[in-house]
C-alpha cells in the first residue's frame, strides 16, 4: 500500500559492501551477538516454523490418526500416507473437496490477473516518467492517492457495473460457445487488474524514472519514437522491477480471498482454491485430513514462487511493501 523509494536488495547490499568493512564489522559483530541473542533468535525461528511444519506433517498422516492424536506423536509412531492428497485433489465423489478443479481456476485467475495490470502499468509508468505533458505530475499524485481507497470501498459499485455491462457479453459468449460457462473469469481478472494498478504504476514509475535521461535523449536524437524507446530501452532496463512486481502481484492474486468471493460466483466454474478452502474450513471445520492436505495444496505454488524467486520478491516488498 504505502511505499518507500526503491531500496537496494538486502541480499545484495551486504555482499557488495562487505569486503571493505569486513574487519570492522566483525569486531562490532562480536560485541553485539551474545549467546542469549542467538537463543532468542532460535526460539522465534522455531515458533514461527512449527505451525507450518505441523500442518505439513499432518497432511501426510492417516485420517484416523489426525483426528485422534497430535502430530507430534508422529515421532514415536511414524506413519505416512498420500491418501489425503488423492482424496482432496482427484476424488470424484460429490462430498470430496475436488481441489484439482479449483487449482486450475486459481491458475486461470492468477496468470492473466498478473499479466494484465503489469502491461498496463508499464505503459502508464513510462508515460508518467518520460513523456512530458501538461498535468503529468497532478495525474501521478492522483494515481498514488488512489492507493488510499480500500478495495472494500470499490466492491459494491464495481459488482453492479460488471453485472450491467459485462454480463450480457458473457451470456453471449456462453451462447456462442456452449462449453464456456456463462460464469467466466473476466470480472475477476478486471477486478484484480484494477486493484493492482495504482501500486504497480507507482513502483514501476519509481524505477523507470531512475533510468538515466541521457540514454533516452540519445535514443531520441537517433530518431527513435516513443514506441521504440519503450520496447528497446525501457522494458529491458526495468526488467528487475517488472519481475519483482510480477511475483508480488502473482502471490497477491493467488492468495486473495475477498475479490474472489465477490466477483467469482463461488461455483467450480470460477472459484479459486482460497475460496474453496475457506468454505471447507467453515462447513467441515473438523475434517482435518482434508483441510490439512487442502491447505498444503494451496501453499505449494506460493512457496515454490517464494523460494525460487525470493530475491526478487524481497526487493519488491522493500520497494513498496503491502498493497491496497
Amino acid at each position: 500500500m504505502s511505499s518507500v523509494a526503491f531500496t537496494p536488495d538486502p541480499e545484495i547490499t551486504p555482499d557488495r559492501v562487505a569486503p571493505a568493512v569486513t574487519t570492522r564489522a566483525d569486531r562490532v559483530k562480536r560485541r553485539l551477538t551474545s549467546p542469549w541473542a542467538t537463543i532468542a533468535a532460535l526460539v522465534i525461528a522455531v515458533l514461527w516454523t512449527v505451525p507450518t511444519f505441523g500442518l505439513l506433517l499432518s497432511s501426510f498422516r492417516p485420517a484416523d490418526q489426525i483426528q485422534s492424536t497430535g502430530w507430534w506423536t508422529f515421532f514415536s509412531d511414524p506413519q505416512l500416507t498420500l491418501t489425503n492428497y488423492r482424496e482432496v485433489l482427484f476424488s470424484g465423489s460429490a462430498s470430496s473437496p475436488q481441489l484439482g478443479e479449483y487449482f486450475v481456476n486459481s491458475l486461470a485467475i492468477a496468470i492473466p490477473g498478473t499479466l494484465i495490470p503489469l502491461v498496463l502499468a508499464c505503459l502508464a509508468a513510462y508515460a508518467f516518467a518520460w513523456v512530458r505533458f501538461k498535468g503529468s505530475s497532478t495525474l501521478f499524485v492522483i494515481v498514488f492517492a488512489l492507493q488510499i481507497v480500500p478495495l472494500q470501498m470499490a466492491l459494491i459499485p464495481l459488482l453492479q457495473l460488471f453485472v450491467t455491462f459485462l454480463q450480457p457479453f458473457q451470456d453471449a459468449l456462453h451462447e456462442a460457445v456452449p462449453f464456456i460457462s456463462e460464469r467466466q473469469f473476466l470480472p475477476v481478472w478486471i477486478a484484480h487488474a484494477i486493484f493492482g494498478l495504482p501500486l504497480a504504476i507507482f513502483l514501476l514509475h519509481n524505477f523507470i524514472s531512475a533510468i538515466p535521461g541521457d540514454v533516452i535523449e540519445a535514443a531520441r536524437v537517433d530518431g527513435a519514437g516513443h514506441g521504440q524507446i519503450f520496447f528497446r530501452i525501457i522494458l529491458p532496463l526495468a526488467m528487475p522491477a517488472i519481475a519483482s512486481f510480477a511475483i508480488f502481484q502473482f502471490l497477491w492474486v493467488w492468495n486473495d480471498l475477498l475479490v474472489a468471493l465477490v466477483f467469482s460466483t463461488g461455483t467450480p466454474d470460477t472459484a479459486p482454491l482460497t475460496q474453496r478452502l475457506a468454505e471447507l474450513a467453515g462447513s467441515r471445520g473438523e475434517n482435518w485430513e482434508r483441510l490439512t492436505a487442502g491447505a498444503f495444496v494451496s501453499l505449494v505454488v506460493p512457496l515454490i514462487v517464494f523460494f525460487g524467486l525470493q530475491r526478487y520478491f524481497v526487493r519488491g516488498l522493500l520497494a513498496g511493501s503491502a498493497k491496497g
Binding site: 505451525p51 489426525i66 466492491l155 484494477i194 514506441g227 493467488w254 475457506a278 482435518w288
Partner: protein, 518 residues
C-alpha cells in the same frame, strides 16, 4: 471436472489474453512513426513496406474462416450461426486490412488533414455499410446469427458514429486554433445523439434498449475528450496511448466506485436516502460497537508486536551465521495466503474434550502444564487475541526483512564511536541503531497498520466474525453481501477509508521529509 470444462477454461484464458494483447498492440499502432523515415521511392517499394505484418493478419483472418468451416459439422458446439459469424468476421477482416494497406500507400504524400479526412470518411462509409447490412440481415440466410437486438444497437450507435466521423473529417480542415474544441463538440454531440435516438426509439418500438446506448455514448465522449488532449502537442499523443488503458480502468474501477460508495453509505436497503442512520447504527448497536472496538485492538496490537518482534529478531540474527536461513524461516508466512495461514492456526488451536487426547498444539501445551483445554476460538474476548496472533505471525517476516535491510545501512563508524564512548550493547541499540532506522520503522508500522485495518481473510476463515471477533472489513462484507444491507456495508467501507487516510497521509509526509533531507 470434465475435459470440456477444462478446455472451456483454457479457451477463456487464451482468448482473454489474446484479446488483451490485440488491444494493446492496436493502441501502440497509433504511435507516430518517426517523421524522418525515408519515404519509399516507387509504388512497388511502398507496397512492400508493411507487407509482413499485414500478410500475417490476412493469414490469421483466413485461418479463422477456414477453421470455422472445417469445424462445422465436426464438433457439436460449432453451430451454424457461430460458423457464419466466424466466416463473416474473417472475410470482413481481410477486406479491411487490404483497404487500409491500399489507402496507407495512396495517401503517403498527402498532407495530414487530407489523410485524416479521407480515413475518417472511409470509416464513416464502413460504419454505414455495416448498419445497412445489419438492417438487411433478416433476409440474408448467411447472417442468421445477427439478432434483432444487435441490429437495433448497430442502428442506434452506427448513424451518430458515422455522423461524428464525417463531422470531424471536415473539421480537420479548420485552422489549428479552433479545431480542437469544435472536434470535441462534434464527438459530444454524437454521444448525446445516441442517447436521444435510443430513447425516442424505445418509446416508439417498445423494445428495451438497456444500457448499451449509454455505454456507447460514454465511449464516444471518451474518444472526444482524449482526442482533445492528444491534439495538444506532439508529445501528448504517446501519453494518450500509454496512459489511456490504465486511466480508464482506474476511473471505472476505483474513482467511480469510491464516489458511489460514499453516496451509498447514506441510503437504506431499498436505496432511499436515510441520512446518517447507517452511522448511527454503527455507533449504537452493541455488535457494531464490538466490531469497531475489535478493529482498534487489532490496529494497535498487530503493528506494535510484529514490528517489535521483527526488529528484535533482525538485531539478533544480524551478521550471524546462517542469517539467510533464519530470515527465510520467519519470512515464509508472508508467502502463504491468509486463508492457508488461518487453517494452519485453526489446526494449532484445535479443541478436544478434556477426556480425549488433544490434536491442537496450543491446547496440548495447556494440558501439559496442567490446565484445562480451551475452546480458544470461541471464548470471547481472548479469541480476538488468538486471531491477532495469526496476523502477527504473518506480518513479522515483513517487518524483519525491511528492518534488517535498514540496520545494515547504519554506519559502522557510529556504532564504533558509541562503543569507544563506553556505551553498552543496549545503549548502542537504543541510541544509535534505532534513530538510524527511524524512517524504516515508521514505514513498517504504517504499512502493517493499513494491512491490519483491511484484514478480512483471517476473520472470515477462522470464525466468520462470530463469537464477537468481527472487524470492520469482515462486517462490511457480511452486511453488504450476506445481509442485504449495502448501505451499512458502504458506511463501514467509508469508515475504513477514513481510518486509513490519516495513516497514509502521515506516511507520505514522512517520505517527503526524507526526500527533502536527501
Amino acid at each position: 471436472m470434465t475435459t470440456m470444462d477444462l478446455v472451456g477454461k483454457l479457451l477463456q484464458v487464451v482468448v482473454g489474453l489474446a484479446a488483451f494483447g490485440a488491444v494493446v498492440a492496436l493502441l501502440l499502432a497509433f504511435l507516430d512513426r518517426p517523421e524522418d523515415k525515408p519515404r519509399p521511392a516507387s509504388w512497388r517499394e511502398a507496397m512492400r513496406a508493411g507487407l509482413r505484418p499485414r500478410l500475417v493478419l490476412i493469414a490469421a483472418f483466413a485461418l479463422l474462416a477456414i477453421l470455422a468451416r472445417v469445424l462445422y459439422g465436426a464438433v457439436p458446439w460449432m453451430t451454424q450461426g457461430l460458423t457464419n459469424a466466424a466466416i463473416g468476421l474473417g472475410v470482413a477482416g481481410i477486406v479491411v486490412v487490404l483497404l487500409q494497406w491500399l489507402l496507407d500507400r495512396l495517401l503517403q504524400r498527402a498532407s495530414a488533414p487530407v489523410r485524416s479526412a479521407v480515413m475518417r470518411a472511409l470509416g464513416a462509409v464502413l460504419v454505414v455499410a455495416l448498419v445497412l447490412v445489419a438492417q438487411a440481415s433478416p433476409s440474408i440466410p448467411a447472417l442468421d446469427w445477427v439478432t434483432p437486438a444487435l441490429v437495433f444497437a448497430a442502428t442506434v450507435v452506427g448513424w451518430p458514429l458515422a455522423a461524428a466521423l464525417i463531422a470531424t473529417a471536415l473539421i480537420a480542415f479548420l485552422p489549428d486554433r479552433t479545431r480542437r474544441s469544435v472536434r470535441l463538440i462534434a464527438w459530444l454531440l454524437a454521444a448525446v445523439a445516441v442517447v436521444a435516438i435510443s430513447l425516442v426509439l424505445e418509446q416508439g418500438r417498445e423494445q428495451a434498449v438497456g444500457v448499451w446506448p449509454w455505454a456507447a455514448a460514454a465511449g464516444l465522449s471518451i474518444i472526444g475528450v482524449l482526442g482533445y488532449f492528444a491534439d495538444h502537442d506532439d508529445d501528448s499523443k504517446p501519453m494518450l496511448v500509454f496512459l489511456m488503458p490504465a486511466a480508464l480502468l482506474l476511473t471505472v474501477g476505483l474513482v467511480y466506485p469510491a464516489i458511489r460508495t460514499t453516496v451509498l453509505a447514506f441510503t437504506d436497503r431499498t436505496g432511499a436516502f436515510n441520512g446518517v442512520d447507517n452511522f448511527v447504527w454503527m455507533f449504537t448497536q452493541p455488535e457494531a460497537l464490538i466490531t469497531l472496538a475489535n478493529t482498534v485492538v487489532w490496529v494497535i496490537l498487530v503493528p506494535l508486536l510484529s514490528t517489535a518482534i521483527g526488529l528484535a529478531y533482525a538485531v539478533f540474527i544480524d551478521k550471524s551465521r546462517g542469517e539467510r536461513v533464519y530470515k527465510m524461516l520467519v519470512f515464509m508466512p508472508m508467502a502463504i495466503s491468509m486463508v492457508g495461514a488461518s487453517i494452519i492456526w485453526r489446526f494449532m488451536y484445535a479443541y478436544r474434550g478434556p477426556e480425549q487426547e488433544q490434536i491442537g498444539l496450543v491446547n496440548q501445551i495447556i494440558v501439559w502444564f496442567g490446565g484445562q483445554p480451551q475452546q480458544i476460538l470461541q471464548n470471547s474476548p481472548w479469541n480476538t487475541l488468538a486471531l491477532i496472533v495469526v496476523m502477527i505471525w504473518i506480518q513479522t517476516g515483513f517487518a524483519m526483512v525491511v528492518l534488517s535491510a535498514a540496520i545494515k545501512g547504519v554506519p559502522t563508524e557510529q556504532l564504533e564511536a558509541a562503543e569507544i564512548d563506553g556505551a553498552n550493547p543496549w545503549q548502542r541499540f537504543a541510541n544509535v541503531t534505532v534513530p538510524g532506522i527511524r524512517t524504516s520503522i515508521v514505514v513498517v508500522i504504517t504499512t502493517i497498520s493499513i494491512a491490519t485495518l483491511k484484514v478480512f481473510d483471517i476473520v472470515r476463515t477462522m470464525t466468520a466474525g462470530n463469537f464477537n471477533t468481527s472487524v470492520v472489513a469482515n462486517e462490511m462484507y457480511t452486511q453488504a453481501f450476506r445481509s442485504g444491507e449495502p448501505g451499512r456495508g458502504a458506511a463501514l467501507a467509508l469508515i475504513l477509508f477514513l481510518m486509513v487516510m490519516p495513516i497514509v497521509i502521515y506516511n507520505v509526509r514522512v517520505l517527503n521529509q526524507q526526500k527533502a533531507i536527501r
